[in-house]
């Protein structure tokens, strides 16, 4: 029995046992359901083995929505616990686990996946490519992310969740203070998902630099593609730091090394330092694609071209460079000297400049535009004021001396949620509504969409504005309860109400997806928004090969000018198209990765070695196999194009 003891959750409660039963039953229901409806073959052929960037994007999207609800339930539990003073809904240990998993799930498994979803789906279409540069690697990226996320999520019922914060600072995260396997899960699942992200980074840089349609110079790329390029550049430079830090942390925990210990020559703050060398650029990895999405949506619905395209490009490049120069502002109170704090304080404030340039560019794009308030546009317009409030409180936090007051209080929590939610979540939902017809061939319901916007926008303000006040009054973050005499009760109650409204908003979005799938009209054009960039020049939903004829680009807003100025995008006749073959190897390889991660979490060395051999076998298989892809014949293209609404020329 002793062997199995390690898998037990260290602090079991009724809720956890109930979740175990629920997870078990859900998995059983899924397996029985797929078998009953005979969908195994379909699932394997069309999804598990796919290398199509559009399908991979959709899988990222589904995973991101699932993770949004996982992280959202965590958030609701936290707000419910702190809604009234001296509450006993969660105990201290449970609260620690909940805020840790909330952070990790929301940043790494929700926001990152959402960014990847839209980047995967949209970028190749916007540059007129047939797929990404390395389609097989793209599938590998997704499955690495997915297995990492699953590994992280099972920690809840097997072995116990990590409980040392999403930042997982040593020495707290070391074996001495976190003896359970929770932090092992943290180290290994993020490592696996991070590998996937790094591969995506390389893949998309090559795709964007090498596979643009003829005529599309760098300065004729749509803004979203620009932001995707810069984002992936940051990924390639920032993620190796995380990889190394996590490897060192794993070795500290599993093999007794002393990188981050206090004794034996270790340096505990080195973890915090590495974490934020990656962590701060990570913030921009999330926000830049969001900026790109807004730069697509705002011109479309203001019916004007984007104001200051060049300054937009320069500011994202400037942001990408500056994002590597500011990481120390996450630990101003560590005890380093005034000189160091001043340097990082100034570099932090400098980021506000290019960000401000972008905000003003969006405002000037709206200026005198014929604004159409669709759901996507509402989210984009709602983003500007809320994000600005989050942003200017960031400048307050950037002042090192004042930060001693704000550090580790709810003020900080309010700041970063008011940046990330309008910055990333609003953008992703806006992008979802905007590109949904391109993905699935029907539109999401506008009425439900607007209702969700108001619930989410009001909810986010109600949930986080009170934290500015309670934070300035001294409420520390990550505290599971407080006494009545502190006077924090009222603010936390308002926060809880706001959080509940947010939950209603997200439920509305999911209901909207269900409702529109059942009732929305399938009879829409390929360009329902009257948009400007190339992805709208092909059919909805997009055929396998994206464009029957590779488009030729002459101007920045290629599709708009094709519609308005009569530029010809598609010249010549159909030619045979060369496409990559599907492959099950990435999926199988990532199952081995999951097994490897799980085995390492519990120090089961034999299983770990077997899994590692499995991984290397998959890599060897890839090196030795001959795969030249397949060709789509001209007749087949003609047939598909006719079926999708007439041959487009």
């Amino acid at each position: 029995m002793e062997f199995f003891d390690r898998f037990a959750v260290p602090n079991p409660t009724f809720t956890i046992y109930a979740s175990m039963v629920a997870i078990g039953l859900t998995m059983l229901a899924i397996l029985v359901g797929i078998t009953y409806f005979k969908k195994w073959g379909y699932l394997w052929r069309e999804w598990l083995t796919t290398v199509d960037h559009k399908r991979i994007g959709i899988m990222y999207l589904i995973s991101a929505l699932l993770m949004l609800f996982r992280g959202g339930v965590d958030a609701l539990m936290m707000r419910a616990q702190t809604a009234i003073p001296d509450n006993t809904f969660l105990n201290a240990q449970e609260y620690n686990e909940v805020f840790t998993t909330h952070g990790v799930v929301m940043i790494l498994f929700m926001a990152m996946a959402f960014v990847m979803a839209l980047m995967n789906f949209v970028t190749p279409l916007q540059i007129g490519a047939r797929d990404v540069a390395f389609p097989r690697l793209n599938a590998l990226s997704f499955w690495l992310y997915f297995m990492g996320a699953m590994l992280f999520n099972i920690s809840f019922v097997i072995g116990g969740s990590p409980d040392s914060g999403w930042t997982s600072y040593f020495p707290l995260a070391g074996n001495e203070f976190s003896p359970s396997v929770g932090t092992n899960y943290y180290m290994l699942s993020i490592q696996i998902a991070g590998l996937g992200t790094l591969i995506t980074g390389i893949n998309f840089i090559v795709t964007i630099l090498k596979m643009r349609a003829p005529g599309m110079t760098l300065m004729k790329m749509p803004m979203f593609t620009w932001s995707a390029l810069i984002t992936n550049l940051i990924i390639v430079f920032a993620f190796p730091v995380l990889t190394v830090a996590l490897a060192m942390g794993t070795m500290d925990r599993l093999f007794g090394t002393h990188f981050f210990s206090i004794d034996n020559g270790g340096m505990d703050m080195l973890w915090a330092n590495f974490f934020w060398v990656w962590g701060h650029p990570e913030v921009y990895i999330l926000i830049l694609p969001a900026f790109g999405i807004y730069s697509e949506i705002i011109p479309t619905f203001a019916r004007r071209n984007l104001y200051g395209y060049k300054s937009m490009v320069i500011s994202i490049v400037a942001i990408s460079a500056l994002s590597f120069l500011v990481w120390v502002h996450h630990f101003f109170t560590m005890g380093q000297g005034a000189l160091v704090n001043s340097i990082f304080s100034i570099s932090t404030m400098a980021i506000a400049v290019p960000t401000g340039v972008k905000i003003f560019n969006w405002l000037l794009t709206l200026w005198k535009g014929k604004i159409e308030f669709t759901t996507a546009m509402l989210y984009s317009v709602g983003f500007i004021p809320i994000f600005t409030i989050g942003g200017v409180t960031g400048v307050m936090l950037a002042m090192a001396s004042a930060d001693y007051q704000y550090h580790n209080t709810m003020f900080l929590v309010a700041h970063f949620h008011l940046v990330i939610i309008p910055g990333v979540v609003f953008a992703m939902i806006a992008g979802l509504f905007y590109w949904w017809p391109k993905m699935f061939g029907f539109m999401l319901n506008e009425k439900l969409g607007k209702a969700s916007f108001w619930a989410i926008a009001v909810g986010v303000c109600l949930a986080f504005f009170p934290m500015f006040i309670s934070g300035l009054d001294g409420q520390a973050r990550r505290m599971y309860t407080y006494s009545e005499s502190t006077g924090f009760g009222i603010w936390n109650m308002i926060s809880f109400i706001g959080a509940s409204m947010l939950a209603i908003g997200f439920i509305l979005i999911v209901y909207n997806i269900y409702y529109s799938t059942r009732y929305a009209s399938r009879d829409i054009s390929s360009d329902p928004w009257n948009a400007r960039s190339l992805e709208w020049a092909t059919h909805s939903p997009v055929p396998d090969y994206n464009f029957a004829i590779t488009p030729e680009v002459q101007s920045l807003e290629a599709f708009w000018d094709a519609k308005k100025k009569g530029h010809k995008l598609f010249k010549g006749n159909y030619k045979e198209i060369h496409m990559p073959n599907n492959s099950g190897v990435p999926f199988i390889m990532c199952c081995f990765f999951f097994l490897l991660g799980f085995a390492l979490v519990f120090s089961m060395w034999v299983v770990a070695i077997i899994a590692a051999i499995g991984i290397f076998s998959c890599m060897a298989h890839r090196s030795l196999e001959q795969d030249h892809g397949h060709h789509i014949s001209v007749e087949e293209i003609t047939k598909t194009e006719e079926k999708l609404g007439g041959a487009k020329k």
């Binding site: 840089i205 630099l209 430079f237 060398v277 560590m334 380093q336 000297g337 160091v340």
Partner: protein, 93 residues
């Protein structure tokens, strides 16, 4: 025949062998820690440059500027990370 002989690569090969020998000498020749580290760092970076330019053919294609921009950017980020960490954790602490 002359244009078929990869003179650049052969020279590069010998040069990187030379760099390896110099780096190896640190182990066998008695010298102070600072001198040894300096030699190792310099030879390591020159070695990496040789690999990149000679054997990985950076600068031989039309888009060489994007390759070099990425390399310079990478070097910039690496230097910022290393010296920033040293500044934060040791010099300025």
């Amino acid at each position: 025949m002359r244009e078929l002989f990869p003179a650049k690569q052969v020279m590069g090969y010998f040069f990187s062998l030379l760099l390896t020998v110099i780096a190896l000498a640190v182990y066998f020749v008695d010298m102070s820690y600072q001198v040894a580290m300096t030699i190792l760092l310099v030879t390591a970076f020159v070695q990496a440059g040789v690999q990149l330019v000679v054997f990985m053919h950076a600068g031989e294609s039309k888009d060489k500027w994007s390759i070099y921009t990425t390399v310079y950017y990478g070097v910039f980020i690496a230097l910022v990370t290393i010296f920033g960490s040293l500044l934060t954790l040791i010099w300025g602490y």
